[in-house]
C-alpha cells in the first residue's frame, strides 16, 4: 500500500490448508498484504500459487477438506474470521464482491440475467421491485450492454462470453462493494475482449472509489491495471511493492522470470521466455527456498535456509537470500 492511503483490507499471516487424502496442502502459507482504499492490488503467480485460495479465504468460502487455519483478515478494522456465517452473508456481495474466472459458468443457466442481478438488490438493499428494476437497467447500461431493459429477460446462453462477464461485473458492482476480488476475470475471453473488460473494471472501480484485488497469472495485465503488486509462489509471497518500482526493478529471480515472459510490445526484443522447470509439488516442498530448483542464482545457502521477507525500503519487500539489484532495461 502506498504511503498516506488508508487501509481497507489487511491480511496478516494467512494460512489456508487442504487436508487431502494424499497429504496436507499448504495452499496459502503465511501471507500478509494490505489493500488501501481506492487501490488496485495485483496478485500474481503461476498456476497453483494459491491466488484463488486467498480470494476465497477472504470471503470465507473455503470448503472442506480446506480450512483457514491461522491469520487475520481485517476488513475495515474487523476480523472477518471472527464473523459468523450469517454475518459473512451480509458482507459477501455487499461489501466484498467477487468476479470469477469463467463467465460461461459463473451465471446460473436457468435464471434470467435480470433475476440474477436483481438477487443482489433483494439481498442487499431495501429498494422496491420497481426501483430495483430501474437500478438493474442502469447498471447493465453502465457496463456497456445496450437495450438493457430487454436484455434483463434474457438467459445467460443468449449472451456471448464477453457480455456475460459484463453481466457478472454488473452483479459484482451493483450493491456498491468496497472491495472487488477479481479472480482471473478475463483469462477465458479472447484478447480484444480482455482489454475491453479490464478497462471496464478499472473504470468501475475508480469511479466508485472502490478497491480491487486483481488475481492473474499475467504480469502484463497487472502492469496495466494495478497500483501495487504481490507476487506469490507456492503459497508464499516472494515479493511485493508498488507496481512501477517492482516492474522496473524486480528483486526476486521469480519476478524477473515472470517479467521475462511478458511480451514486449514496444521493444525490439520480442522475447517470451517461460521460466524453465516446474512448480514443485506443494505437498512435498523442498527444504530451503521453494524456487531453488528453477533459480539461476541459487547458491548453497538457498538449499539450507528458507529466505525471510526482507524490506527494501518503504513499501517493498522480497524473500530471497540474494535479491537482484540491477534495473531492467526499459
Amino acid at each position: 500500500m502506498s504511503a498516506g492511503k488508508q487501509s481497507l483490507l489487511e491480511v496478516r499471516d494467512l494460512k489456508t490448508r487442504f487436508y487431502t487424502f494424499a497429504g496436507v496442502v499448504n495452499a496459502v502459507d503465511g501471507v500478509s498484504f494490505t489493500v488501501g482504499r481506492g487501490e488496485i492490488l495485483g496478485l500474481v503467480g503461476e498456476s497453483g500459487g494459491g491466488k484463488s485460495v486467498i480470494g476465497f479465504s477472504i470471503l470465507g468460502l473455503i470448503d472442506p477438506p480446506g480450512k483457514v487455519d491461522d491469520g487475520e483478515i481485517l476488513f475495515d478494522g474487523t476480523d472477518l474470521r471472527r464473523k459468523s456465517e450469517k454475518e459473512l452473508q451480509k458482507i459477501r456481495g455487499k461489501d466484498i464482491a467477487m468476479v470469477f474466472q469463467d463467465p460461461m459458468t459463473s451465471l446460473n443457466p436457468l435464471q434470467t440475467v435480470g433475476e440474477q442481478i436483481d438477487e443482489m438488490l433483494r439481498l442487499h438493499s431495501d429498494l422496491d421491485a420497481r426501483a430495483r428494476r430501474a437500478r438493474c437497467i442502469e447498471m447493465l447500461t453502465d457496463v456497456g450492454i445496450s437495450e438493457a431493459d430487454k436484455r434483463l429477460n434474457n438467459y445467460p446462453h443468449q449472451f456471448s462470453g464477453g457480455m456475460r462477464q459484463r453481466v457478472v461485473i454488473a452483479i459484482a458492482m451493483i450493491a456498491g462493494p468496497l472491495l472487488i476480488i477479481a479472480d482471473e476475470p478475463t483469462t477465458a475471453l479472447d484478447v480484444t475482449i480482455q482489454s475491453q473488460i479490464l478497462k471496464l473494471m478499472r473504470r468501475q472501480v475508480r469511479e466508485r472509489d472502490a478497491s480491487m484485488i486483481l488475481i492473474t497469472h499475467d504480469l502484463a495485465v497487472v502492469s496495466q491495471m494495478a497500483d501495487e503488486i504481490v507476487v506469490l509462489y507456492c503459497g508464499k509471497i516472494v515479493e511485493k511493492g508498488p507496481k512501477q518500482d517492482l516492474i522496473s526493478k524486480p528483486a526476486h529471480p521469480y519476478t524477473q522470470g515472470l517479467l521475462g515472459s511478458i511480451p514486449k510490445l514496444h521493444g525490439r526484443q520480442e522475447r517470451l521466455t517461460q521460466i524453465p522447470g516446474t512448480v514443485p509439488d506443494v505437498r512435498n516442498l523442498p527444504k530451503g527456498c521453494n524456487f531453488r530448483e528453477r533459480c539461476p542464482f541459487a547458491q548453497a545457502r538457498c538449499a539450507e535456509e528458507e529466505p525471510e521477507q526482507i524490506s527494501l525500503g518503504a513499501d517493498r519487500s522480497v524473500a530471497c537470500h540474494f535479491p537482484l539489484e540491477q534495473e531492467l532495461e526499459p
Binding site: L59, L61, P64, E85, Q89, K90, I91, R92, G93, K94, A97, M98, F100, D102, T105, S106, L107, N108, P109, L110, Q111, E119, M120, L123, H124, Y155, H157, V168, I171
Partner: protein, 321 residues
Amino acid sequence: MLGYLTKRLIQMTIVLWVVSVIVFMMMSFTGDPVFMVVPIDATDAEIAQARRILGLDQSLLVQYVKFLTSIFEGDFGRSYVFRQPALELILQRMPATIEMVLVAMAFAVIVSIPLGVYAGAHPDSRISKTIMAGSLFGISLPGFWVGMMLIYLLAVQWGWFPSSGRGDTVEVFGLRLSLLTTDGWHHIILPAFTLSLATTAIILRITRAGMMEVGRQDYMKFARAKGVAPRDVLFRHGLKNSLIPVVTIFGLQIGDLIAFATITETIFSWPGMGKLLIDSIYRADRPVIVVYLMLVALIFVVINFLVDLLYTLIDPRITLK
C-alpha cells in the same frame, strides 16, 4: 410448436398401433377364452356357437382387422366376463388407481426431494449416510412384503388404519373420488405409502446425484459469493439445475405406478384397474386386457409429452422440436 405436436401425434398413433399388434398376437398364445364363457357341461355345438359369436372362429388376421375397424367406430369390445364394454369397465376403475398413484407420488416427492438435496449437499455427513442407507431399503424391500407388514402392524395389531377397501367416496362429474372424504383419506394412506416407497428411494438417489454434480458448478459458489443464504443456494440455484433427470424418472414412475399398481391393489383390496387387469388375465378376458394395455401405452405417451413440456419450462435452452 405445431410441427412438434403433429410429430408427437403421429408418434403416438404408431406406438398405439404397434402395441395393439403385439398385444393381439400375444393373446392368441394364451388360453382359449371360449371356455371362460361357456358352461362346463357345454356340448361341442354350443362351444362352436359361442366361438362364432365371439368371432374366435376366424383367422387371427381377420379378428385383428375387425378389432381395428370397431375401434374406429368407437367400440373397444366387450368383456367376456362382465358382459360390459371393456373401456367402460376400465374407466370405472381408473379414478381409484389414479388417486392412489397421485397420493403416492406426492408422498414420494415431499420426502425424497428435500432429503435428496440434503444428501447431495452434504454427502459426507452422518445424516446423509443414514438417508442413503434407508433409501436402499426402499429400493430393495418388496412392496408386497411392506404392504403386508403395514397391514399386520398398523391395521390388525394397532387398528390405526383400515386394512382394505376404498372407504367413502363422493361422486364428482361422474367420477367416484375418495380424496374428498376423511374416510377416503384414511383408507388411501397405507396403500399409497406402500406404493410410494420404491419411487421415493429412486427419486431421492437421483436428486442427490444431481445435486452433487451441480454442487461443483461455479454458479453455486458464485451464488454464495453474492451473499445468498446456503439454503437458497441449494433450493433456488441448485435444485432446478438438477431437476431434468428427476422429472424424467418422475414421469416414468408415474406411468409405471398407474399401469402396474396391481400388487398393492391386490394386497389392500383396492378396487382399482390393476386388480381388474389381474382378474382379466386370470380369466383370459381378452378384450379387457387389450384395451387395458393400449390405455397404458396411451398414458405413457401422454406423460412423456408432458415431461417434454416440463423440460422446456425448467430449462430455457431446451426447445420443442
